[in-house]
């Protein structure tokens, strides 16, 4: 339908924790236990090679995954170049590079839809 009046109804932005698929975050918590050490400082994102050029944001991906918004996380993940700078920056010793590899692995092999 043509938007005649110049107004529209914005999409609902609700996150349903109960129905969202939490399998990926559970998997990551198991195989990369250090991911639980994250304090959300954003150092990884500040130093990121991909994040320098686009709105790629590791901290945000982790948040999306924890909420079970896997589709959004998946779209973002493909931007990573795996250079590993984030890992060197992290003050908590989170294996960020491994975390991303495992997410990609999970999406490719186990995630449905």
């Amino acid at each position: 339908m043509i938007n005649f009046w110049g107004y529209s109804i914005s999409e609902t932005r609700s996150i349903n924790y109960d129905t969202n698929d939490k399998s990926m975050t559970e998997y990551i918590a198991r195989v990369v236990p250090s991911s639980k050490l994250c304090i959300g400082c954003g150092g990884c994102t500040a130093g990121c090679t991909a994040g320098n050029l686009t709105n790629f944001n590791i901290r945000k991906i982790q948040m999306l995954m924890k909420r079970g918004e896997n589709k959004e996380a998946k779209e973002q993940l493909q931007k990573c170049m795996l250079c590993g700078k984030c890992m060197l920056v992290c003050p908590r010793g989170v294996e960020t590079r491994k975390m991303i590899l495992e997410m990609l692995n999970y999406i490719k092999t186990k995630l449905k839809s």
Partner: protein
Amino acid sequence: MQQYEYTNKIYYDHFVLPFTIGLVVLLGYLCVKYYKWIKSFPKEERKKIRKGLFSFKTIRSGWEIFRESLLHHNIFKTNPMLGYMHMTFAFGWFLLIVVGKIESMVYHTSAFNPPYFAIFFRYFHPAKETFPHSEFFAFLMDLILTFLLIGILLAVTKRFCSRIFGMKKTTKQRAYDLLILTVLWLIFPVRFLAESFTSGLNGGGSFLTHNAGNFFSGFLPLESLSYPAWWLYSSLLGLFFLLLPFSRYMHIPTEMVYIFLKNWGVKQGKEYNGFSEIQVNSCSRCGICINTCQLNTSCNINDTQPVYFFRRLRNHEEYAQQAEDCLMCGRCENSCPVGINLNAIRQSKRPDILRVTKDTYAYVPQPEVKPAKVAYFAGCMSHLTPGIIKSMLQIFEKTKADYTFIDEKAGVCCGRPLALSGNWKAAQVVMDKNLQMIDASQADILVTSCPICYKTFKEDYLLNIKVMHHTEYIDMLIREGKLKVNALDLKTVFHNPCELGRGCGVVEAPESVLKQVSQKIPTVYDGKKSLCCGGSLANTVIDATQKTKISSDTVKAYAAYQPDIIVTACPLCKKTLGKTSLEIPVKDIAELVAEA
């Protein structure tokens, strides 16, 4: 007339059957297997075989086979005792076969006697009948047998006390391997017994078998023991041949095939193919890689070294974790006596998990690069160590170089980290972006500060301009007299990054630069023997604590030389070592040069 009789005598007894059947089955199996493997090579690689077959390379391979497969020259370099043990087995057995064959030919005066005739010569040859130099041959054969028996004694000792042989750990074997090991160990003592018993009955032999025969005849019923001993000897040989293709001793024939292929120029590509199979089967499981691996020495991880990884591949066991659990530092590859491409094979077994579309990395902007003679690519990691970049820019300014800093603002990764995790397709996309940038710079020389980038620029980008690591560039500047440096009053040790020294063979340039700007202390870790800092991107299995352990062990090893500074040439090494080296500062060679 007598000559005529010799050649017509039929030398046969049923006991030769196990040996003969074993040998025929083995040769048949090997032919089929090698044919299959070589057939699976890519076309270009097969072409190299056809080209190399009738060239000087084949003769060179023959010499290498003599030096490595028989004398084990490379193992001698690792440890003389270990080398001696391997040599007695390989060269001893070889001599036993060759001298035995010559002996049988001199006796028989014909080259065409059945293969088993020389092996069981003492059984068929009537001892009282002499032939030219028979005494000398008997002496020689006994000497070689003594040589072999000493080798077995050493091998048994090694199994229980590997430290004498410079090995902290020896390979852990499985039941099947232990079975064939026992068979191999028994072959020569049984040959010794069979020859001694026959000598005790009929005479013949020399200092070893003759005397032993006389000794045994004193208390053993040799009439009833001699014939069964020959049966046992033949059966052991036959059994060894039948078990060989499925055991580690497959390396004996395969290593020779590998040496030929290697010299003809066949290369291990990105894919796992027949050539990889040949290399995996060339592994003798000597276990030298276990001792050089820092995952073993620092973290006590003992299931991932090439020897175990390859065994998993051969036995079709689960290997996913082992494929990833490796720093790719190349210390094993550097010490491997067979010279197998250990890293490339492991890398080929890492799965490609990224889905690449035409939009992958589309966000990377078109490069805006100012053209210049020298293009400087710092690399992602160098952007985390601004000191290195600052020093390099200072050096460029000082020497008035016409340079352009191509990844100053909008640089992307070189692609090697993607490739290291098996994602070659995605790496190719990133590489194309960088290629555009390098082309746009119109430079003659590409200088990089990161050995990881350096390796992939050199090997995968197929650039037609000169690629230099900054240590090489600085070395060139000093040699050409463009850069004057003063020696600082500092004692330094050099940590050669894995990707630079072992990975690309850059050893002399950094050492020469460091000697000119400081007092470099020589260490046992110089050149290609350097340690890994532990920060490697290649390993995704070990955790941060284990990486720190490797790193602090490396720092400890260097600290033993009491340097004022630990110098390296890699931003990743600098960052990793800097975290654990709390007392001794860690600097990049470029920073030192900028100060000098």
